[in-house]
């Protein structure tokens, strides 16, 4: 069973569909004690992504230390891939929802999604969003509050274009963001794929599977996979999904013109049900 569902699910339900994980008291808990002093990002994010990687030289020991540090960090911040269907259910639970600049992309490529020059991609959820004006640096370019229907449309729009839907916690299990991510600009995907830091981004509750009878070998899914899980089998002209590498984001299934890819429940596959 998914570690987060075990701890924070409601009687075996998926943890991110448990309304308690969006609740205000959790948010207050995160804020407590941080209010008095100005937030210094390099210190705060030291164990998060910044410092350890800089210190990582040709030193395998330092690298191991960094991985350990990150693994502990998931108590503060962590994520999981979700499929479109679940994301839509989440949007129905979470209020308010606001479109905002992607912080990862601002860090890795120095872009700014202000809604004018560049469209905004990520969604901030929960009561914290009401206080966005307090933190003009974090919410650079402003935010835009969305209705439930608008949020669903927003998510589907980017998912269609190839983005992976992920959830981010700020003080696990408080869900603070529904992000639309790709490699390499998403730091969570990068941490997981390149450095094996699992808790930054757990795999989703589904895995994708190809129906070989329907697949025409057009290759659309191969181009779309952000996790390098899909290859084209040259001689059979069928796409092949490595289900042990699949994160279950559903980007390939959405894009497939033949509807030849289906998402199946990870927990129904004995070999994959503990693979997160």
């Amino acid at each position: 069973m998914c570690e987060l569902c075990e701890k924070y699910g409601d009687n075996g339900s998926r943890w991110y569909l448990n309304p308690q994980n969006y609740a205000r008291p959790l948010y207050k808990k995160v804020e407590k004690g941080k209010e008095k002093e100005p937030m210094i990002l390099t210190e705060l994010q030291g164990p998060f992504y910044y410092k350890p990687l800089i210190e990582l030289k040709d030193d395998p020991e330092a690298f191991e230390k960094m991985r350990e540090g990150y693994s502990k960090f998931h108590e503060t911040m962590g994520g999981q891939v979700v499929c479109l269907e679940d994301a839509k259910k989440m949007v129905e639970i979470a209020q308010p929802i606001a479109r905002m600049d992607c912080i990862c992309r601002r860090i890795t490529r120095a872009t700014l999604e202000d809604g004018k020059q560049r469209p905004r991609t990520c969604l901030g959820v929960g009561v914290g969003m009401f206080r966005w004006e307090e933190w003009p640096e974090r919410y650079k370019g402003g935010v835009e509050f969305l209705s439930t229907e608008e949020a669903k449309k927003h998510i589907e729009h980017w998912h269609k274009r190839g983005m992976v839907i992920t959830i981010m916690t700020f003080g696990t299990p408080y869900i603070g963001g529904i992000c639309l991510c790709d490699y390499p600009d998403c730091l969570a995907i990068r941490m997981r794929l390149d450095y094996g830091i699992k808790p930054m981004l757990l795999k989703g509750h589904q895995v994708a599977k190809v129906n070989y009878e329907e697949c025409t070998g057009c290759g659309t899914c191969v181009q779309r996979c952000q996790f390098g899980a899909i290859k084209m089998e040259v001689t059979t002209k069928k796409s092949n999904i490595d289900m042990t590498r699949c994160f279950g984001c559903g980007v390939c299934a959405y894009a497939c013109p033949q509807d030849a890819i289906s998402l199946i429940d990870r927990e129904k596959l004995p070999a994959l049900k503990e693979e997160w």
Binding site: I40, L41, Y50, I54, L56, A110, E137
Partner: protein, 80 residues
């Protein structure tokens, strides 16, 4: 072998505004972030810092060194 990428902060006063190295890097090695974030205040451009975070991904194509308008980036390779 992991290259040593050093960025001279004095030669790179406003990395977030310039962003040339960040956007040219094929391996997305760099990261830029504000060194402080205060309530009700946007961080000044001088308070940003760029660093080579994913050094182990660098392929030594030297695009960043070529594109940097002030020559702030130095890359050394340690020979083993």
């Amino acid at each position: 072998m992991i290259p040593q990428i050093e960025i001279d902060k004095n030669k790179c006063p406003t990395p977030y505004e310039c962003k040339k190295c960040l956007q040219i890097c094929p391996q997305a090695v760099f990261a830029v972030a504000p060194t402080k974030v205060e309530r009700f205040k946007e961080t000044a451009p001088e308070d940003y810092e760029v660093q080579a975070v994913f050094k182990d991904k660098c392929v030594l194509c030297m695009d960043c060194v070529k594109v940097c308008p002030t020559g702030a980036i130095k890359i050394k390779v340690r020979s083993n």
